[in-house]
Amino acid sequence: MAETVVEPKVKVSLGTPWNVVVHNDPVNLMSYVTMVFQRVFGYSKEKAQQHMLEVHYKGRSIVWTGTRERAEFYVQQLHGYLLLATLEKAE
């Protein structure tokens, strides 16, 4: 009689996603911020404008969510364009 093989349950836990947050800044033009979003994230003009307006009116916008390494890379790129960007854990 064949033995029943019970395979152990493997729980795969993906890392917590991280948000790239852009904060409102006092000196950059709105058109500039839109173009930076298009350039860094490859967003369409409409999507980039939505995020820019969220930054402008609400003070901050989550512009990207994903792995920590990628998020760090994006924050670094945004800092290169002198935008105020931070990382935070997604809820």
């Binding site: 006092p26 709105m30 500039y32 173009m35």
Partner: protein, 168 residues
């Protein structure tokens, strides 16, 4: 495509270099330097005079674009109790100042304690990204401009007048 005070005509690189030589290095760079310096001392009257000088130094189309872009900056939030910005806004409304982008940008950078080098690089980035958003060689073009900024700031660190003489 038109940026704040330059536009691409033919090659992006050639247009950028032409703008650097014709407007940025002799006019905008010393202007930003002086506005940042005067803002730190809350010298509204001198900044208004500088704004009028800048207005006279610009050709018609960059002048209009520069004033329009300055108007957009005026719509952004200002720290409560920031008197210099308020005085400039009054001067613009009274027609005494035009409110060029470089002037208001310098005043806002000072109001938010943005260091001079970062402020000037931020200005260049805005001109470059708005004027040539799809240009792949933006980094190289920026580096070309940064060389003259570094040289100007190095000389200016010995005194504003010397820096102005270098480019003037």
């Amino acid at each position: 495509m038109r940026a704040i005070s330059w536009q691409v005509e033919g090659s992006v690189g050639d247009s950028w270099r032409k703008w650097l030589e014709a407007l940025f290095e002799p006019v905008l760079l010393p202007h930003l330097w002086r506005v940042l310096d005067l803002s730190a001392r809350q010298s509204a009257r001198e900044i208004i005079v500088l704004d009028a000088e800048l207005d006279r130094s610009m050709k018609p189309w960059p002048r209009k674009r520069s004033i329009d872009a300055g108007g957009l900056l005026l719509q952004q939030c200002t720290p409560r109790g920031e008197r210099l910005m308020a005085r400039l806004q009054e001067a613009i409304q009274a027609g005494v100042a035009r409110g060029h982008f470089a002037t208001l940008y310098g005043v806002r950078c000072a109001a938010f304690s943005i260091p001079i080098r970062a402020a000037i690089h931020g200005y260049l980035l805005q001109e470059l990204v708005i004027g040539a958003p799809n240009e792949t060689g933006q980094v190289q073009l920026l580096e070309e401009a940064v060389e003259s900024v570094n040289e100007f700031l190095r000389i200016s660190s010995n005194g504003l007048n010397e820096g102005l003489r270098f480019h003037g």
